[in-house]
Structures are given as structure tokens and as C-alpha cells.
Amino acid sequence: MAFKQITSPHEHKRQSTGRIMQLVLIATLPGLLVLSYQFGWGILINLFLAVFAAISAEALILKIRQRPIGLYLRDYSAVVTGVLLGLSLPPLVPWWLVVVATVFSIVIAKQLYGGLGSNPFNPAMVGYVVVLISFPIEMTTWVTPVSLLPEGISHPGLFESLTIVFAGFSPLDGVTGATPLDLFKHSDGLLVDQIYQNNTLFSSASFAGVGWEWVNVAFLLGGLGLLKARIFTWHGPVAMLVTLATMSMLFWDGGSSNSPGSPLMHLFSGAAMFGAFFIVTDPVSSAVSNRGRLFYGALIGLLVYVIRAWGSYPDAVAFAVLLGNFAAPFIDNYTVPRTYGHNQRRKATAKEEDE
């Protein structure tokens, strides 16, 4: 009797890359819900636009590259890139901006490097940075959180939002406004206490900044879920958040007019939690070993703070992550784990001793 010959191991855990990506998508749900509640329909429109553009671009490139389209689309990586971009872009931006960011992510940052697993940079962050640098006005206009809208004004409805996004109508006055990080960036000369008193964004906040604090809590929850499901290890996110907190503690200086803000504000503003649990944890572009991911996360946390505090952009997760991506191979070189039976860790570039 003849039998098929297959290499060991024969037993496999029923886990797939597509399944991992699906879990990541599920984990973004709390964040998505809070974002939509706080900022209206714009978020969902971004999301659908980005996902649609991502899948189309991926399918097109796969076709050009003559790869099996179905197999590669089923790994859901394009959907994840689309969702992550959709969640990062400001609501109510023009549709073409979302499409440009997404197509750039998928085509240039991912497929031209060889597709899933071969991209040195986080595709979503590359797309984000491209539109951030190219269209700074659109990219720095955020919608006002729901509880701070002026009397008698609400977020635009679905139809109205669509006209803003697709037909270029402008939203009503008061619908757009600054984010907590913007305020800090543009409130030079004021003590932290004064900033807090003058702005309802802080004065009516629970602990960090109206709207954003809950967005960050939601992403934190989703991230903890993924951590529990062992989709990634704690090293990257914890290192990033701890470094960010430590830096903001060190430079807090009691709330003077030069203070870049409190640790709590930094941890729960902007893309801090989203970055820590959904961007830093992208395995493809990060350092590989657990120890390496500690350094990688810490580097990103450090850069986020440095750019937020002393750079010209209010938030910095995208830049920090891209710089971290640059450093990842270097970090990998020095963080190979100590293997069983060896006294010390080796460098990735170590040469075999001559016998």
C-alpha cells in the first residue's frame, strides 16, 4: 500500500493568519464604537471607504502580480490595514484623502515590498504620514466630541456627512475643533492649570480630555483582549506606555507654562492606546524577540513624547512607529535570546568561531 509522504509535525493547531487578523478586527470594535459615538458618522464613512479601497487595491495588485487573489484576501491583512487607517484619519475628511492614504498603504508600503510579511514599515502608518504631510489642514481638523457641541448643534447625520465627504460641503461651525494635544501645543505661556480651566475639553473631562479619554480606554480594552487571546505579547505595548508615562512624569515639572502635560493626559490622548495595542504590535514591521520588542516599544514611546512635547506635530504615533520600524533590524541584531545550552546571547551577525 502506498501512502502520502508529508513532513513532520503532522499535528497542527487549528489557527490561521486570517483568524488572527479577524481577532484584531474584533478587538477594534470597542474603539470604533466609542469613536463613532464621540465624533459621529464620519468615522464609519472613513472606515468603509478605507476598507473598500484597501481590498480593491490589494486585489488589483495581486492580479498584476499573478498571485491567487482569493487566498491572499482571505488572510484579512488588507482589511486590517483599511480598518486601522479608517480609525486614525479625522472624520469628515474628503473621500479622496482616505483613498489616497489607503492605496498608498497597500500598493506602495505593502505590495511593492513583496506583500504580506515583507514590508519593513507599518503600511497603515505610511499611508497616514503621506496624507498628514501632504494635506496638513484636512488632517489636523478634528470633530468636536459630542458632549462639547454648542447648544442646538449636533454632529451631521449620515446623509449630511456623505455630502461633506463626497461633495465637499463644509460642516457647520462648532462641529470641528481642537483635540487635547492640539490645545497643549498651542497654549504656550499658560500654566497647565490655566489651560485646564479655560477649556471645556479639560474642565469637563473625567480624567484626561473629553471624548478622547474614553476612546483610549476603549482601545485599551480591545488591546487587553488581544493580549489575553495571546495574539501578541505584552512587551511592545507595555514598554511604549511605560516609557511615555515615565517621560511625561520626568518633564511634567509641576504644571508650569512649559509643561508638556501630565502622564495621564499623554496616556489617554490622541493615538496613545490605539498605537500601543494596534500599531506597535504589528509583528511584521516590529522587532522579533520579546526583549527586542521591549526596546522597540520603549523607543516608540520615547519618540512619541519627544515629538509631542518639542516637535511641531501635536501627535506623533505614526512618525514614532515609522522611526521604530527603521530601528527594528538594528534592535534585532542585539536582542537574540540566549539559546538553551549557551552561556550568553549572541549577536545576529556573530560569526561561527573557526574550529
Binding site: 513532520s8 487566498l71 501578541f232 535570546p337 545550552g341
Partner: protein
Amino acid sequence: MRQLWETPGGVHPPENKVQSLKLGIGHLTIPQKLILPLVQHIGDAAIPCVAIGDVVLKGQKIASASGDLSAPVHAPTSGVISAIEDRPVAHPSGMSALCIEVTSDGEEHWIDLHCHAEYKQLSPQEVSHLIADAGVTGLGGAGFPSAAKLDNSRTRSIDTLIINATECEPYITADDILIRERAAEIIQGIDVISHVLDMPRRVLIGIENNKPEAIDALREACKSTAIEVVAIPTKYPSGGEKQLIYILTGQEIPSGQLPSDIGMVCVNSGTAFAIKRAVIDGQPLISRITTVTGGACGINRNYEVLIGTPVSHLLKENKFIRKNCSRLIMGGPMMGFSLSSSDLSVVKTTTCILAPSHSEIPEEDPQQPCIRCGLCAEACPASLLPQQLYWYAQSEDHERLQAHNLFDCIECGACSYVCPSNIPLVQYYRSSKGNIINSRNTKISAAKARERFEFRQVRLDKAEQAREVKRKARRIATEKAKTSNSSAADIINAANLRAKARQASPDQQKAKLERTLMAAKMRLEEAQERLVEANKSGSAEQQAQQHASVEGARQKVEQTKRRLEKVIK
């Protein structure tokens, strides 16, 4: 409670052990033909010491060890040697190798057995010799000749003897059932090993805690001894030698070394049993416990199988249904290898024959790109970075592979087990290891060739220099002769003197001529052989050529004979 150390990584695949433990150890009918490969162990092939047609008794040696790292093979039953030829053998590559086929006479006539119940009166060397002679090799999987392992360990001082009863591979229950039914004999075997190792200070039996019955049986059997039974947490691959030693002692075997280098010896519990049988009962290793299991088998149980039993015989007696079987595996689902055919036979290292159904072990899903998720690194028991190894294996970057300690990979398959992209990682590592070893060997032989070349170059240079010196001397001599006024008679005289000096004594001449004659005769014989061959199959031209060379050689012989006769006269 003994302190235990936790190894990094590891996985928890479904155990699937209960199905083969419902029945005790069974026996099969004797197959009509048994096929015994001469290599069932690590090391050199055994050398057949029987001929086709010989009648052999059960337990009779049919192939003897061919060196220190080898093991003899014995007839598993009485019968006739019916073939000694290449057959497909149990090997991942599906290769063929020399095998002896025994056709059973159904009588089961044993040889005379020499029991050594009083082995303690023998020296350790003598006992080790008995073990070697019985063909005992490691029964856990690798098949290292046991006596060679013990002898090598005896050269160092051994402090700890570890008996490996972990059996961490899913499905396999051969050690479990053996312990349940024959714990006392295993303990006797351990005593024999201790004797050979000059009584190590401590003896530990490591066993996974998913075998409570076996643990109880061992504890019962160890009651009046100093042997300690240590239950360890169930996790694959805790049964790896390196892993088990770490779990029990917290010590690591330095990379590239053996357990004996840190004063430890690790022996499988089934091997301890075989050693007991070999020494105390005088029985060579001709059978072992093998688990026959999987959804495609109607019966799942352990058998005491004669070594050499064809797998097809085993399957047939277990109500095997071919169409339900997704693949046929020798060994477990993690490290076992798939068999191309059921015609090959059970060998000393066959722990299990696994015939899973399509739902148990389905077809592989297509491979997807590595996203470096790191699940493999989490699972690796050696703290390697499998994702990086895979990356460098693909680019054949041997330097990086070695810097990432590829050779410390034990090929347990945990990385591949957890890989969500279905990448056959272990296969990449195996092939990379092979490539690196090949290129190392090529390098070594290239270095040797270079050395040879350089040596030859130096030799040629020296010879050339010597010739140059001579040439110069001669030139000077001729110049001198030209310028001097000596008469022609003087010159002739001098030449004669030189010739005389060059002429050897008659004895020397005779010896030289005799040597020449011998060589000429040999050349003549060779030429004649070639001629015969050319006449048989060569072209007319070749025949003529060979004929001419025979003639030439004959003349040379005649000539030398004549000269020799002259000298003797």
C-alpha cells in the same frame, strides 16, 4: 517534593492517549516473513553473519556489530534466512538499505539463553558487553547503541542517572503501558544500568503527570529503593533529553556536548526494560512495545511486536481501513515521519504506528506568508527565533543561521505546530542543517586539496632548485675542462672511473633486476587480462592495441630474464 524547573516554550497538542490504553499489551501472530534492516540505530551498519538458506533459531545473532558505534541484529523468531538484499527501510527519506529477511518456521525455537541474575558479580565492562551483544539500542526514538552510551559515560564520573519515561508525544503509550504492566522489571533494568555506571549518586525517573497509573506502579516498584519517581507537568516536548534534564535538575547541557559532560546519563524506560531482559534473562532485543493507533485502525492498542514485523501485518491485525487513513506515520504526530509504504518493517526505534483518519490529521492547508507573529518563538523550547531562522533559511544565509543557533534546534516541531501560516518550518531547518554540513565538508576537503597542492608545489620547487644547482656545477666543470690542458687520455680515464663508481655491486644489480622482472610479469598479466576483455567486447582496433601491448610486455619480461641470467653467471 523535588524542585522542578520550567522550560521555556512548549505546546499542548491534544494527547489522544486514552484510545490505545483501553487494552493491555497484546501479541500478534507471527508474520510469515520478517525484514531486519542492518541499520536500526545511530552508527555503522551491522555485518551479516549468516547466508541465504541458513536455518536460524529465535534470538540467534544474524548480523554482528561493525565497530564501537554499532549494534548486532538477532533473529526475532526461528526460521530460514530467505534474502539478504536492499529493501525500503523506515527512514524519513524513504531510502533503501541492506536487510536480512527471515522466513518464519512458526516453531519459535529459542537459542540457549545465558541468564546473569547475579550480574553484580560481573564487572561493569562485562555487563556492558552483554548489553552490546544483545543489540540493545535506545528505544525512545533516536536509537543510540546503549552499551556505547554507557561505556562513553563510564569515562566520566556520572552523578545522576535519569530514566526518561516522559513520553510527551501525543498518541504514543508504549512506555506508559510497559510501566503499568512491568514496572518491576524496569526497576531491575535501572539497577543493571546503575551497576554499569558505578552507582550514580541519584537516580531519577521523569514521567509526565498525565500517566497516574504508571506513576503509581513505578512508586510501588521503587518502594525499597533509592530511585526517585518525579512527576513533571505535561507539556510537549518535555521528553526531549535536554528538556528533561533541565526540568529535573535545572542544568543545561552546553551546546554541542553530551549529558555525560555534565555528569548525567539519560536512558529511556523501555531501554531499561530491554537491558534487564538482555542481562538478567539473557534475551537479545528482538521485540519491543509499539503503539498501533489512529482513527483508521479498528483496534487501538499496544503490542509486543517482533522487530522486523512488516507494518502491513500490524495494520491487518488491527482492522485497518485504507480509505479512512490520511497518512501513515512511524512515531508520533509531532516528530514521526510518514511512511511511503506499509511494506517496510517495525525496527528497534518504532515507538508507534499511527494511522490517523482524515478528520484527525487533515490535509495541510496552503502555506501563507510569515507575518513574524512570534507564536513560534513563544513555543520554542530552546529559545530560538524560528521566524528569523525561516527567513534566513529561505535566503540560505548560513552565517546568520548559525549565529541564530540553528544547530541547537531539536526539531521538535512545536514552532510548526503553532504556525498560523502553515509553514513547514522544521523541514526548512532540516534542509538548512544538511546544506551547512555539506558546505562545511566541502570546505574541509577543499582545504585538504589546497594543502596537497601547496605541498606538491613546494616539492617541485625544491627539485627544480636541486636541478639548477647540478646544472650550474656541470656548467662550471665543462668550462674547466675546456680551459684546462689535460690530454684526451686523461678525460677517458676519468670517465671510466666515474662509470665504475656508478656501477653497483652484483648483488645490488641482481636485486634490481629481480624487481624489474616481477613488475614486468605483473604488467604482462594485466595486459593479458585486458586482451581477454577486449576480445570479448572491444572493437577490432582495441583488440589489436591490447595484443600489441601484451607482446611488448612479453618482450620486456624475456629481456629482463636474459639480463638477470647474465648477472647470475
